[in-house]
Symmetry: C2
């Protein structure tokens, strides 16, 4: 277990959404070939496929506003992170989102092993 799990997770979240909102093509550095992203139900693997998906999203301006961040230590000094927040894109209505990450350490840096993203849209 990693005693720093909470600060690692929170620092990651700050860094990730800042990079996403400024220039999401830079996020490739946070993924490895084994990394998986499930984005609105579609699976993508590896930095190229993941960032290609993110860059292809049809908005110009984007801002993630984080509501809650919960971190938990997990196996192999990993950190499980669940984020609840709001997403503002261009002039669209604000949407809630939920995103989960598993962060792993490759010896010197943390990278994203697992990434699941969902807009929160309830039918009722």
């Amino acid at each position: 277990m990693n005693p720093q799990f909470d600060s690692i997770g929170r620092q990651f979240v700050d860094f990730y959404y800042k990079a996403f909102d400024e220039n999401r093509s830079t996020l490739a550095a946070l993924y490895r070939p084994e990394s998986m992203m499930t984005f609105e139900g579609a699976q993508h693997q590896g930095p190229e496929a993941i960032v290609q998906k993110l860059v292809s999203l049809p908005f110009q301006k984007v801002q993630h506003v984080v509501t809650t961040v919960d971190c938990q230590p997990t196996v192999d000094f990993g950190v499980l992170v669940m984020v609840v927040g709001q997403l503002k894109t261009d002039e669209d209505p604000i949407h809630g989102f939920s995103q989960t990450f598993i962060l792993k350490n490759d010896g010197s840096n943390y990278y994203v092993l697992s990434d699941i993203f969902r807009l929160v849209v309830h039918s009722a």
Copy 2:
């Protein structure tokens, strides 16, 4: 990687919320001593502490309505699951929630290694 990750995750979600809504004291069987639950920001570890927290929640009737379930295979044949849904308790207003699980296999059964739960309440 576990090729059955999606059906394992979805079956777990069905089972978990049905058991929660009918008699949440039965959920102890799904946790192990190393299991962690972060519930609205508070950490609990092990089946006794986790179920004590769940049983102490101040409502009689509860219903989880699942909106989306996303599953991803993870290390050691584990399954990462993120759920977005709505929670109806007693006669309270409906709340959105987000919950993440890491399921692990102990050789014969899946159990919950990690559990993070948040009601979705945005300030804006």
